[in-house]
């Protein structure tokens, strides 16, 4: 009974489908016996606005589909991952905040992969870039909400940094760096981004 009501709700939601520009993956429920739409249509759930109407004794809560104008087409619509759809594979960095901000929550955490649709490698790279952007202070409005009236005990030193791989508290000072042939190097950036496009001749310098 519950399954039948779920499938009915899926069918009604399908009738209200918009032929959106970007494709989304079907949820787990929809993969079970759902009538196949013609392959030419790209499906997307429209953005819905919740509208509450109060009559005598009944309250009608309706999700009205907003008419959002279709954005620009991705150059590679057949790919599964959004980064591959827009051909941005090896082209983004921690400085591209406009791109990174589309994959984070309002308190700075990453959105889950099953919602954004990223492939696992790109999800990891975006997570690394988001971490580096947070540590560089490029996302000042995406900090976690502190409880009200919270006063920090000790003022933290405001040090500017960029391309920080490790978290600040986890790193220990290198008291004995060693000789040139066996030096303990300080790591900068992340090796996951080593395949990024470089327009200069110099190679990526990770071990400083």
């Amino acid at each position: 009974m519950a399954a039948r009501s779920v499938l009915m709700s899926i069918w009604t939601s399908f009738t209200g489908l918009k032929l959106g520009v970007t494709s989304t993956r079907l949820s787990a429920f929809q993969r079970i016996n759902v009538p196949q739409l013609p392959t030419l249509t790209i499906q997307s759930r429209g953005v819905r606005q919740v509208v509450e109407k109060q009559e005598d004794k009944t309250t009608m809560i309706e999700g009205q589909i907003l008419d959002v104008p279709a954005g620009p087409q991705p150059p590679n619509p057949e790919a599964k991952c959004p980064i591959y759809r827009w051909n941005l594979q090896h082209k983004y960095n921690y400085t591209d905040v406009l791109l990174l901000s589309q994959f984070i929550r309002s308190d700075g955490g990453m959105l889950p992969r099953r919602i954004t649709g990223l492939c696992p490698q790109e999800h990891r790279k975006i997570a690394i870039c988001v971490q580096m952007a947070h540590r560089a202070g490029l996302l000042p409005d995406h900090k976690p909400k502190l409880p009200e009236g919270h006063v920090p005990k000790r003022l933290k030193p405001q040090l500017n940094r960029y391309l920080t791989r490790w978290s600040i508290k986890s790193v220990k000072p290198i008291y004995k760096a060693g000789l040139k042939w066996c030096k303990k190097r300080m790591s900068v950036g992340h090796p996951a981004l080593k395949n990024n496009v470089r327009y200069s001749v110099k190679p990526l310098y990770i071990k400083h």
Binding site: G71, I83, L98, T116, L138, N160, I174, A177, S187, H208
Partner: protein, 169 residues
């Protein structure tokens, strides 16, 4: 310039100029390279090791930016006397003295000879924007910053944020 008179050309070649560098959000190593080149005089075609360097003024040394985790990992050591060996991380040293990191970086990049001390006397470091008036009167040229400062999300206008396409829905 060929249009100068002889005495003016002579003055323009051999006068000691004053350079200004803003170190805000810049890596101290790159700032130190620029400083050491100009303190030695290696940016001049008339370079000679006997004293043709210029003055360099570095401002905002309190706001330098280290790449990676160097604030916690980089250690500055000082052997003053036996038993007086101190090792301080870059963060602690910067808190104690905001000019020290840039000063040590430039000192290490200058040639290790007796002229190094005179060249260090021609380097002027200031932790913030404030400059004494006599130094401000002497400045001739400002050098461009070595590193491009990335923009924060709050610095983008709403139109730019809207113009960027949504990658997923």
């Amino acid at each position: 310039m060929s249009s100068f008179s002889r005495s003016a050309q002579q003055w323009a070649t051999f006068a000691r100029s004053w350079f200004l560098i803003d170190a805000r959000m810049q890596p101290p190593g790159k700032i130190a390279v620029m400083c050491s080149v100009r303190l030695q005089g290696k940016h001049k075609p008339i370079y000679h090791s006997l004293d043709c360097g210029d003055h360099v003024v570095v401002i905002n040394t309190r706001h330098i930016a280290f790449s990676g985790n160097k604030w916690e990992q980089k250690v500055y050591s000082s052997h003053t006397y036996p038993g007086g060996f101190k090792q301080v991380t870059a963060a602690m040293l910067h808190q104690k003295d905001p000019k020290a990191i840039v000063k040590l970086a430039v000192y290490g990049m200058l040639p290790k000879n007796l002229a190094r001390r005179t060249m260090m006397q021609r380097l002027h470091l200031f932790p913030d924007d404030e400059l004494p008036d006599d130094i401000r009167a002497n400045l001739t040229e400002e050098l461009p910053q070595p590193r491009e400062i990335p923009r924060k999300l709050s610095e983008y206008t709403q139109e730019e944020i809207d113009a960027f396409p949504r990658l997923w829905t």
